[in-house]
């Protein structure tokens, strides 16, 4: 695409963090995800792209079992994180979600103070032994989310009073405060203006140092800018998965080519 940076970037590591085999998702009678196999690498940004309703968000929500909250949703197949089947009976989804954090499409800070927003996760997981340790966790999470300088003087102000971009970065800080290993982002910039989007994208690139990030996006430019790996979904199928540069410059499948050139979507 027009941003050539993606071509120069290497994938840091080949270690596989998440492995999915034969994943099928049903909403009642609707077959939303059809037999998806994918390997997601550690310390890498992986983008899921595809037209609306193609199942990319649904698949993302399988990775931390958020689909469990939907009664009619049924997941088949295997998803392993660090070699452990997350749909095993012994796995508690609550523990899983502490390991696999999530940032949502619409910024959704709790109607509490900025401090409490970030401190909530560490508190319920008992990550801080005392107030000082909690303060440190909150500060470092806000720093990693690149919002510390903007909010350090008003930590007790309500999180809902921030601007849209700041709220989304606060939500990212909240997600990283629990020290997850994987960060799922469901169209994190769709409610943001271009400046806020740029800030969040920059942030995603930094988060790659510590986490494996999976991002769902409608914007192909965004996928090209932030990700190293891209997966293209279409009508519930994983059509093509590979290096971002390859997908955008030399797609194998004609459907991928049609989508990235704007003929379907």
């Amino acid at each position: 695409m027009n941003d050539m940076r993606v071509l120069e970037r290497d994938v840091d590591t080949d270690a596989i963090k998440i492995a999915a085999r034969g994943v099928q998702v049903f909403y009642g009678d609707n077959h939303a995800i059809k037999d998806v196999d994918v390997d997601i690498q550690d310390k890498t940004v992986t983008a899921f792209i595809g037209p609306s309703g193609c199942g990319k968000s649904t698949f993302l929500r399988c990775l931390n079992r958020m689909n469990d909250t939907i009664d009619i949703c049924r997941v088949e197949g295997n998803i392993h994180i660090d070699g452990e089947d997350i749909y095993d009976r012994r796995v508690d989804p609550v523990q899983l979600r502490a390991k696999v954090g999530m940032v949502f499409q619409k910024p959704n800070p709790f109607p509490k103070s900025i401090y409490d927003n970030v401190a909530y996760g560490p508190r319920i997981h008992g990550l801080a032994k005392n107030k000082a340790a909690l303060d440190d966790i909150v500060e470092s999470a806000l720093r990693r989310a690149a919002i510390w300088d903007e909010v350090k003087d008003r930590l007790s102000a309500p999180g809902t009073g921030l601007s849209g971009g700041q709220q989304q970065r606060l939500c990212i800080a909240r997600a990283v405060a629990t020290e997850p290993e994987v960060l799922l982002m469901d169209e994190p910039c769709s409610a943001l203006d271009p400046i806020a989007t740029a800030q969040v994208e920059e942030l995603i690139d930094e988060l790659r140092q510590n986490y494996s990030v999976v991002i769902v996006t409608h914007s192909m430019q965004q996928a090209a800018r932030v990700s190293q790996k891209t997966a293209f979904f279409h009508l519930g199928n994983l059509v093509e998965y590979g290096e971002t540069g390859t997908i955008f410059t030399n797609p194998e499948d004609s459907r991928t080519e049609s989508y990235i050139t704007g003929r379907i979507g």
């Binding site: 958020m66 909250t69 009664d71 523990q95 999530m102 949502f104 959704n108 109607p111 909530y120 996760g121």
Partner: protein, 453 residues
């Protein structure tokens, strides 16, 4: 662009086939007329509603406000030792032997002395003069003497309630014409009252006893009060609050957040909605059958009344709690689950605090509804006649027989003496005050805590 705005408006001759915007076409006129008509209907409907409300409030106030005033007679009574304590040793047992009849001569003497002092001319003897007082006057003296034996022999100033007829005379309810066939009062007595008013002995003023006092027998409407039934209502409301709030909120949280959506929960949901529409008298019969006949709880007790009203209030609380839980945006739940909170943590840490104002509002409105409910109370006998003041009458609170405010109003409205009719309206004013206060609190809570996300 800036140049264009400062240049004069270009003159353009209209060529459009749509015609001028300055004149309305037939369709627009029709549409506007329909809208104006609809607004007029709405205003008429609101006007009728407001008018009815005004008439209602005006009626209640004009008829009921009299109950808050009462006619008092101030008399100096000499507590003669030879009548009250023949032995002179102030032995409480001896003092108690003198019944209220023993105090009648003291009242007669007091009236005769007062008449002589004011120079009032009357043909009435002392006994007839004492009849302008409430039948409770002698009991009032006796209670005073038993409580203060050292006052025997002194002259003490008492404020007695005037009889219901005399009180009615001062409130224009009773006139010389209307008592033609009345054996309880005579024209001569009214003449005496007129002169005593001039002498400052009889006067009408605010009567706290109506708000704090107990009910009285048919013969003494002047001393009847709402106080004890107010306590009965208070005890019932405590029972309702303590039972229906936790049960209702727990049921709603389970149904809304945890229960699987299947036909069983559908049936439960439909039945809760149906229960909210069940006539209250049905709950009364249920309470009679279950709590009194089967569980053998005491009749007329606020505990039973509270249980019955709890059954009645539960559907209201459950429905309003579920509505306020539903109103909390799902993104808040997702956010909590996303950082690894359990279902229960997400509900108790995030959803419930946001739903709390709605839950409180629903609870208060449910309580207000229960407070004004009469029919089920009649069936379980919550119309106890409690004539002695608190705390004697209701010492054990939940299990002693009692009445409730609406039941007390109903009782008074049934009695024949028009003086009770006035008190029924006065009782309605008190009840309405409670309801308005509760609803105001509900509105304030909603305003203060609404929409913080």
């Amino acid at each position: 662009m800036t140049d264009a705005t400062s240049s004069p408006m270009p003159a353009i001759t209209p060529v459009s086939g749509k015609g001028s915007l300055m004149a309305q076409d037939a369709r627009t006129r029709k549409r506007n007329a329909a809208e104006a008509r609809f607004k007029a209907y709405g205003m008429i409907a609101i006007g009728i509603g407001m008018l009815m409300l005004l008439i209602l409030v005006f009626n209640i106030i004009t008829r009921g406000v009299g109950a808050f005033q009462q006619t008092f007679v101030t008399l100096e009574v000499e507590l003669l030792e030879e009548k009250l304590d023949k032995n002179g040793n102030r032995d409480p047992a001896d003092l108690a032997k003198v019944s209220t009849f023993g105090y009648a001569p003291l009242l007669r003497d007091a009236f005769e002395a007062k008449v002589a002092e004011l120079g009032v001319e009357t043909d009435l003897d002392g006994k007839d003069m004492a009849d302008i007082l409430s039948a409770g006057a002698r009991a009032q003296m006796r209670d005073f003497v038993l409580a203060n034996p050292d006052q025997i022999g002194n002259t003490v100033s008492f404020e007695f309630l005037a009889s219901g007829r005399v009180d009615g005379y001062l409130k224009d309810r009773v006139s010389r014409d209307s008592i033609a066939n009345d054996k309880n009062i005579s024209v001569e007595q009214l003449d005496l009252v007129d002169q005593l008013i001039d002498g400052g002995t009889v006067e009408k003023r605010f009567n706290l006893a109506f708000i704090t006092g107990a009910d009285s027998s048919d013969a003494r409407p002047e001393s009847a009060g709402m106080g004890v039934s107010m306590l009965g209502s208070l005890f019932m409301m405590l029972v309702v609050l303590v039972l229906s709030l936790p049960i209702g909120v727990a049921a709603s949280i389970y149904l809304e957040e945890f229960a699987p959506k299947n036909w069983i929960t559908d049936i439960i949901e439909v039945n809760i909605s149906n229960l909210a529409a069940v006539p209250s008298i049905v709950f009364g019969i249920l309470g009679l059958a279950v709590f009194i006949n089967y569980m053998h709880l005491p009749t007329s007790a606020p505990l039973v009344g509270g249980l019955v009203l709890t059954l009645m209030t539960l559907p209201t609380i459950i429905i309003s709690t579920r509505a306020s839980l539903k109103a909390v945006p799902p993104s808040i739940r997702d956010a909590a689950l996303g950082v690894g909170a359990s279902k229960m943590q997400s509900v108790f840490h995030h959803v419930l605090p946001l739903a709390a104002p709605g839950i409180l509002t629903g609870t208060i409105i449910g309580l207000a509804q229960a407070l004004g409910e009469t029919a089920p109370l009649l069936l379980i006998g919550m119309v106890g006649f409690i004539a002695s003041n608190a705390p004697d009458s209701i010492a054990s609170g939940l299990l002693d027989p009692n009445s409730a405010m609406p039941a007390q109003i109903y009782e008074w409205a049934r009695r024949s003496d028009p003086a009770f009719y006035e008190r029924a309206w006065g009782g309605i004013i008190i009840l309405l005050m409670f309801l308005i206060t509760m609803n105001t609190i509900a509105v304030i809570l909603r305003r203060r805590f609404e929409r913080r996300w």
